[in-house]
């Protein structure tokens, strides 16, 4: 490795005498008509943690994939130690010392931790046998260097996500990685686990590693990183030192406007209880969940991925069954496991996964919107195509859907427009209770603001809205009340005035610290 000398040479953060270990210069990348990255530059220096900030769809994951050899830039260069390199495949990037730690690592569950670290590169003894002793000793050495207490002999099955990430980091070290890219590593970790991860990453930073860190939690960026690069809609917005930057300034760079226009929450008078969930339990999934949503209210259900939020929504709507408890809509009990009954009671569910659950991707816009109203579109025994088209057109106009023809298949639409079709499909049932799971996942900032405006208007017209969201700014910007779930239980209820990133995250991650 030619860069070894430079990497070990003392190098203060941000000084700029040595060339950056890894850099992007003017990189652009398009997928079809979507310009995922436009003229983006970034420099990662040894001994420095660099944050990558931006909303969903800003181009962060494309950037990571370009650095790690999954994608090749359409134009611009990837530079290592100041010299242009081309990564044709992930293995090329790995050989140059670039390692990526994903949010949820994939491991071989039946192999030991040490075997997972050295998979494909096991130390050999005579006759090509694997030298288990050497492998164990080297794994132990790596863990010692990271300062973590993990047993190399333990099978990977049953390791927590946090421990799996540490094993991945050990693996990266064993390959002499000089650049560590961490793609939302903390999303599924508890407060303690985040603290432990940060200790490890800080140690690596001091040992001369360059770290690229991605997180939606601004506090973490401010705690761990020296520099931050912000992307918005694929474009480079800023690259600057973290010191001296405020939360508000960073959000403005990410969002491109102040929060109150992205989250146009209207104050609505709350009416009577529309949805009442009482001690709902589905064994092994969620336990004893009780809450109410009133007319005119937007209630957010926050929590970490896997806390059981979507599962509660599915059970309330009847897609899954529940084992105990009950659900009342406008004072009437719903029978379990019947979406049909929930719909006729006035409940709508905009599901989490629009490609699988929300839409029939091969079918047209009008058919997708009509699917929830087959009874209402009937004239005698047959469906009226005119009525079907009118219904679709009305909602397409109201939601400002961008389309060529209503008979086009929804799979040609952008993600944001697909989400609008799902919304149209459900709003056309004239629901009184709208459950919406990740309303703006993976859609662009402009459409996001439109979806928020629609939700806000619906609530002020008296709809009861239950919104599940993993994006804290969305939760804080839109909700009248925040319910927080943790490991299948409802652990906190926070009114709008008291809801902050800290209060919600603390409740979501559990007060184990």
């Amino acid at each position: 490795m030619t860069g070894a000398a430079e990497a070990t040479a003392p190098h203060g953060p941000g000084t700029g005498d040595a060339p950056p270990v890894l850099a992007l210069a003017g990189v652009s990348k398009s997928f079809g008509a979507v310009r995922a990255l436009r003229d983006v530059s970034l420099e990662l220096h040894a001994g420095e943690a660099h944050a990558l900030a931006g909303e969903n769809g800003a181009g962060k994951s494309t950037l990571v994939k370009t650095l790690s050899g999954v994608h090749r830039p359409d134009s611009g260069q990837v530079l290592m130690d100041g010299r242009p390199v081309e990564f044709h495949k992930p293995a090329d990037a790995q050989r140059h010392g670039v390692a990526v730690i994903y949010q949820e690592p994939t491991m071989f569950p039946d192999l030991s931790v040490a075997e997972n670290i050295f998979i494909g590169r096991q130390p050999r003894a005579s006759l090509g046998r694997i030298d288990r002793g050497a492998m164990r000793a080297r794994a132990a050495e790596l863990f010692a260097r990271l300062g973590v207490a993990l047993d190399p002999e333990q099978p990977a099955r049953g390791l927590s996500i946090a421990d799996q990430q540490l094993v991945e980091i050990a693996k990266a070290l064993s390959r002499d990685a000089r650049v560590l890219i961490m793609d939302e590593p903390t999303a599924a970790l508890s407060v303690n686990e985040v603290a432990r991860l940060f200790t490890v990453v800080k140690a690596l930073r001091e040992q001369g590693c360059a770290v690229l860190f991605i997180s939606h939690r601004l506090d973490e960026i401010f705690e761990l990183c020296q520099r931050v690069t912000t992307l918005r809609d694929g474009a480079w917005i800023a690259g600057e030192a973290v010191a001296g930057l405020t939360h508000e300034a960073l959000i403005r760079r990410m969002v491109g406007r102040d929060l109150d226009t992205l989250y146009p929450k209207l104050d609505a008078a709350t009416g009577e209880v529309a949805l009442k969930v009482h001690r709902l339990t589905r064994e092994g999934v969620f336990t004893d969940v009780s809450f109410e949503v009133r007319r005119g209210e937007i209630v957010a259900l926050a929590g970490l991925v896997g806390a059981g939020r979507s599962e509660v929504a599915r059970a309330v709507f009847g897609v899954d069954r529940w084992d105990a408890g009950w659900v009342e809509v406008n004072g009437r009990r719903l029978p379990p496991a019947s979406p049909t009954a929930a719909m006729s009671a006035g409940v709508a569910l905009v599901p989490e996964d629009r490609r699988q659950q929300g839409l029939v991707m091969d079918q047209s816009i009008e058919r997708n919107i009509g699917l929830t109203g087959l009874k209402r579109l009937r004239r005698g025994p047959v469906i009226s195509r005119a009525a079907e088209r009118d219904r679709a057109r009305d909602w397409a106009i109201r939601l400002q859907l961008k389309f060529n023809r209503l008979s086009d298949a929804v799979n040609v639409l952008s993600g944001g427009n697909q989400q609008k079709v799902v919304l149209a499909k459900w709003l056309s049932t004239r629901p009184q209770v709208l459950i919406i799971d990740e309303p703006t996942r993976g859609i662009d900032v402009g459409t996001k603001a439109e979806v928020h405006r629609v939700l806000s208007e619906l609530a002020s017209d008296g709809m009861a809205v239950l919104m599940i969201s993993s994006e804290l700014p969305e939760v804080l910007g839109m909700a009248d009340r925040v319910l927080v779930m943790q490991e299948g239980r409802l652990v906190a209820e926070i009114p709008r005035a008291e809801a902050t990133e800290e209060s919600v995250m603390t409740a979501a991650a559990g007060r184990t610290s």
């Binding site: 694929g234 569910l349 029939v360 991707m361 079918q363 058919r367 929830t372």
Partner: protein, 341 residues
């Protein structure tokens, strides 16, 4: 702005509409008919065509129910065995002195039960219908042999035999084919114009989205299997009367001809796509080809080869077309388009 794009697009629409698979099968049908009329003198006369149609009756009837199943991404391979079981029961009960007016409804109920068993195994236990109905294919055929053994029962009442064989007065259309025509219209309306039909396409294309839209997926699938059983059992009655012979092995292998016709008609075996018009064209095409082969003294083995080839071709061709289209379409979106707002 939506309006002017619509105008631009409609120029391209007629061509792609013409290239639809079911239309192609219709064109092929006309070509085979014309070729047959020129090639064999015995082919294009009312007597032969009427016979060819009548010979298709059972396949055509069963194909209607099969179309609904395949659109919903399910399949029923046990139909020919239900037909055989129905035939065996008709023979056995007639031999035991029952009235034909009692036998027919009873046999149809047995068909419904056969379909119900298939449907419950698929919907309650979540088993794939391909596996379930291969099992019941053997089971129902075995039951038919238990009922009738090696016997062949004949001499059914002439008035009923006439209904299965004769033409509707004043036309060259046999009664079973007339019944098929009526049922085909009902099926076409159900599939293409009712909420039930919309639900079938949604289930076949994206079952989870259908479930999330409040469609009762399991109940609908159960209904389809029961309908399939009823139709197959009724086809067994028609078959028995038409040949004037009840045997346990009646109609074996017929399920393949039915599925060949459905797939040839452009119904996607993965569900969610297809038209009943295409299936009718597929059924007729298979019928005419069989008839032509028969007229030219081609052996039944070769007829089976032809059916098999058609089945394979009708599965492969749409895939090849789709791949070719994707290749052709791939380079275009890379062109720089409008800047992002």
């Amino acid at each position: 702005m939506a309006a002017d794009v619509t105008a631009a697009n409609s120029a391209r629409a007629p061509l792609s509409r013409f290239l639809r698979w079911d239309i192609l099968v219709g064109v092929l049908l006309v070509l085979v008919f014309a070729g047959g009329a020129i090639g064999s003198p015995e082919f294009a006369n009312a007597g032969n065509l009427s016979f060819a149609l009548g010979d298709l009756g059972e396949i055509a009837l069963i194909a209607l129910a099969m179309t609904l199943l395949v659109v919903a991404a399910e399949v029923d391979l046990s139909v020919a065995s239900v037909l055989g079981l129905s035939s065996a029961l008709v023979g056995h009960l007639w031999d035991a002195g029952w009235a034909i007016e009692t036998i027919i409804p009873l046999v149809v109920v047995v068909g419904a039960v056969c379909g119900l068993v298939n449907g419950l195994l698929v919907t309650r236990l979540g088993l794939p219908s391909l596996a379930v109905t291969i099992g019941t294919l053997a089971l129902y055929r075995g039951l038919a042999q238990v009922v009738l053994g090696d016997r062949a029962i004949a001499e059914f009442p002439q008035s009923y035999v006439n209904l299965a064989v004769n033409n509707v007065p004043g036309t060259p259309i046999p009664y079973p084919v007339a019944l098929f025509a009526v049922l085909a219209v009902i099926t076409a309306v159900t599939l293409h114009a009712t909420g039930f039909g919309r639900a079938l396409f949604a289930i076949g294309a994206q079952v989870e989205a259908a479930h999330f839209a409040g469609i009762r997926v399991k109940r609908i699938k159960l209904i389809l299997f029961v309908v399939s059983g009823i139709v197959a059992a009724f086809a067994g009655v028609v078959y028995t009367l038409r040949y004037g012979s009840a045997r346990a092995d009646n109609g074996s292998g017929l399920e393949l001809a039915v599925i060949a016709a459905v797939l040839l008609g452009g119904v996607d075996f993965d569900g969610g796509k297809g038209t009943l018009g295409g299936v009718i064209a597929g059924v007729l095409l298979i019928g005419l080809l069989r008839n032509l082969l028969m007229l030219n003294d081609v052996s039944t083995e070769i007829q089976s080869v032809v059916t098999g080839l058609l089945l394979v071709i009708s599965v492969i061709t749409p895939r090849l077309v789709a791949v070719a289209r994707q290749r052709r379409r791939a380079p275009s979106p890379v062109m720089p388009t409008t800047p992002t707002p």
